[in-house]
């Protein structure tokens, strides 16, 4: 280290902050803690352990129930969508077959004499 660097080191020696530095710091920390909103989980953390343990089964039950409900809803939605597709398919097939029947009837009717057509109509 050169003499200049030594002078620099001497010039940059550590200094103490004001005497009440620590006191003011802790006052600010206290102030900050008092102002900070207590979060819901912090409140729960302050509950007695007995209360928390007593509530644990209820929480588990709620979780299980809501999980089951969600699963049921999901299953119901899948079933519903499948049923809808089946229904639309069934209606489409029904419609196609009825149309084909109509076409066949028309073909048969056009081949017959008018009086025979009347007979068929009467018969049907």
């Amino acid at each position: 280290m050169t003499p200049f660097e030594q002078e620099l080191k001497r010039a940059l020696a550590r200094q103490q902050p004001s005497a009440d530095f620590t006191e003011r710091l802790f006052a600010r920390i206290e102030e900050e803690q008092a102002a900070a909103p207590v979060r819901w989980w912090q409140r729960i953390a302050q509950w007695p352990a007995q209360t928390i343990w007593a509530l644990a089964p209820v929480c588990v039950l709620i979780l299980l129930t809501s999980g089951t409900m969600l699963y049921t809803q999901h299953r119901r939605a899948v079933q519903g969508e499948h049923a809808k597709q089946q229904l639309l398919l069934a209606l489409r097939i029904t419609s196609n077959k009825l149309q084909a029947t109509q076409r066949q009837v028309n073909e048969v009717e056009s081949e017959r004499q008018p009086n025979q057509k009347d007979n068929i109509r009467r018969l049907l």
Partner: protein
């Protein structure tokens, strides 16, 4: 089971109160030498310790604590300079004007150097403070400032060269001669 005192001191994280007592002068001095404004340096130091209090749970060791304090103080000092447009009272160039030169007594040298450091560019200033206040090696400074070691060395060398050039001319001949005895060997 015996352990050396040195090992124990390095490994164990002090309590928050102990940490404040142990390191408040370090934090304050970094801020003071960087800002050259006592009230702002105190404000910054308080903010650093408040932040430390919030993050206390994430600190792993005494070394980590010191590293964190130096890094955060340095960053916050730069932020403060940039956000508040805090500028040193005297610029290095203005102070170096030959017409304003006065012969300086040795006892005033430290104070003068202190003021001159505060006029250096941000990165150079921080590197100089870490190097000569905290007595850190360039690689440690590089880790704290998030720079390359070579950049740190360059910053220190440039800052020293500037400071030396501006200071020596203002000194009494004997002092100037003494300071010029061993040029070079800087920033290593």
């Amino acid at each position: 089971m015996t352990q050396s005192a040195g090992l124990v001191a390095e490994a164990i994280l002090p309590t928050f109160t102990e940490a404040v007592e142990l390191h408040k002068s370090m934090v304050f001095s970094i801020a003071w030498h960087f800002l050259r404004d006592r009230s702002r340096a105190e404000e910054l130091s308080q903010d650093v310790f408040l932040e430390l209090h919030r993050r206390w749970g994430s600190l792993r060791s005494a070394e980590h604590l010191v590293f964190w304090l130096r890094k955060v103080t340095g960053n916050r000092a730069i932020d403060m300079i940039r956000s508040r447009k805090v500028r040193p009272e005297t610029s290095l160039d203005a102070a170096a004007e030959p017409t304003t030169l006065e012969q300086m007594h040795d006892s005033l040298l430290a104070s003068y150097l202190e003021r001159m450091v505060a006029t250096l560019p941000e990165k150079q200033r921080l590197a100089i403070v870490m190097r000569y206040q905290e007595d850190l090696e360039p690689d440690e400074i590089a880790r704290i400032l998030g720079m390359n070691v070579s950049t740190v060395k360059t910053n220190i060398a440039r800052a020293l060269s500037l400071l030396q050039a501006k200071t020596v001319g203002r000194l009494q001949p004997n002092t100037a001669r003494r300071l010029n005895e061993m040029p070079g060997e800087t920033g290593k």
